[in-house]
């Protein structure tokens, strides 16, 4: 795993996600696409590290939402996906799309669950959280991510110097 390239890729995704894509009403979740990419194309230990790191980055740019929910949910799902990938190969693009869609929905649901749990114990946070920013877009980001995600795998693999055609179940 080339970690410097990974850091640059994540930074680029964060810049796009928090900068350009933030201005769109309906946006794909690039970080989740990358989460699935690394869970599929890296070994399990690397997948665990990348999942939590991507979750951390997602938490940072989700201000004023609290930190932690995305790190935990991304980490859980990335790890689960990496372990599942030992038994189920996800080669074809439709399957990759489906995995991205399900992961985005599950990550969103988990994140919102953790956020509500966090807000329950924090009075200032309850003022920040509103129904509008909690429920805004769970389905559409998942759909858009699943549509464009598999097409981003190839440039990501090129940048990370990962040979996508030689992968197999680990």
């Amino acid at each position: 795993m080339r970690w410097l390239r990974f850091a640059v890729l994540i930074l680029f995704a964060v810049v796009l996600q928090a900068g350009t894509l933030e201005n769109l009403n309906i946006k794909p979740d690039l970080l989740l696409v990358l989460l699935v990419f690394f869970a599929i194309y890296c070994n399990t230990a690397e997948a665990i590290i990348t999942s939590f790191t991507i979750g951390f980055a997602a938490d940072i740019i989700s201000y004023p939402m609290p930190m932690g929910p995305q790190m935990v949910s991304f980490g859980l799902l990335g790890t689960l996906l990496a372990y599942l990938h030992r038994y189920f190969a996800i080669r074809k693009m439709p399957y990759q799309s489906l995995v991205i869609f399900l992961t985005t929905i599950l990550a969103g649901a988990l994140t919102y669950g953790f956020t509500f749990l966090r807000a329950y114990f924090s009075a200032p946070l309850r003022d920040v959280l509103t129904a509008s920013n909690i429920y805004s877009g769970l389905f559409w980001p998942a759909l858009y991510s699943s549509l464009i995600g598999p097409f981003l795998f190839l440039p990501s693999a090129w940048w990370m110097r990962i040979k996508v055609h030689r992968f197999s179940r680990r």
Partner: protein
């Protein structure tokens, strides 16, 4: 010496990262917020590049210090509106407190600041429309102040606005006292930015102040309403008529105070 390679098992790796995530999750919001803002400020330059990339579908301009955060921008706008409201209230308080200092007798009265929205269409220059009404405790007949002088009374009222009948309006009748004369008289508007007081028994000097006389429940103390600009003989040779003009410019009024006595 050969470098020792640290080997961490996958479950242990997962546990450590999960622990870190849980710590972030349970940490006080103030600390995690500070961390988020710090990281965002460190990476503000690359994030601002992302914001500058123009997209056809882009709608909102992102904020400066927390780039790309729409919720933040909404909160910022809300704060700006609240700040503006606060400044407006402070201005009102300053105006009213300054006004009360000038008229200690009005300490117990409620002075309601109202903004002039327009002059009445039917008779421009003689009536004003203000942005306070019954909801603000205004009633018919209450005196209206501007430029430290009485300018008229409330003539009509609705829930959200009121019409001020200027004392220069031809329908206006206000009891007044003239400086140096004890008896109260009735001043009638003449409709040409002035009012007249008729049948005075003595001649009045030009420039003499005319005061709106006290009225129970409406005005506690006499307050200046205008100044004598002309004094001429009535048809009867023993009596005088005076012309009174406002002591403030009624045509450029922005705000007024309504005296509400309890």
């Amino acid at each position: 010496m050969a470098r020792k390679k640290i080997k961490v098992s996958r479950p242990m790796l997962f546990v450590w990262f999960m622990l870190a995530g849980v710590i972030f999750l349970l940490a006080p919001y103030e600390y995690t917020k500070a961390l988020q803002l710090r990281v965002l400020s460190i990476f503000s330059w690359p994030l601002s590049i992302g914001n500058r990339i123009s997209l056809a579908a882009a709608r909102n301009r992102p904020t400066a210090d927390v780039p790309g955060c729409r919720n933040c921008e909404l909160l910022r706008n809300h704060c700006a509106n609240l700040e503006q409201q606060k400044q407006e209230l402070i201005r009102q308080i300053e105006k009213l407190s300054g006004f009360r200092k000038q008229f200690p007798e009005l300490q117990t009265a409620n002075l309601r600041l109202a903004y002039v929205t327009r002059t009445s269409v039917s008779d421009p220059g003689s009536r004003l429309v203000i942005d306070c009404g019954q909801d603000a405790g205004l009633k018919k007949g209450q005196f209206v102040l501007a430029g430290n002088s009485i300018i008229g009374t409330i003539s009509d009222i609705s829930s959200g606005q009121a019409w001020v009948n200027l004392f220069t309006n031809s329908t206006s009748r206000i009891p007044v006292k003239i400086d140096g004369i004890d008896t109260a008289m009735l001043m009638q508007g003449s409709g040409d930015n002035s009012a007249v007081v008729r049948l005075l028994k003595q001649k009045v000097k030009i420039g003499t102040e005319v005061f709106a006389d006290r009225q129970a429940g409406l005005l506690k103390i006499p307050m200046v309403i205008g100044r004598v600009t002309e004094c001429k003989r009535n048809e009867s040779p023993l009596l005088w008529d005076i012309t009174v003009r406002p002591v403030c410019n009624l045509e450029s009024l922005g705000s007024v105070h309504v005296i509400i006595l309890n």
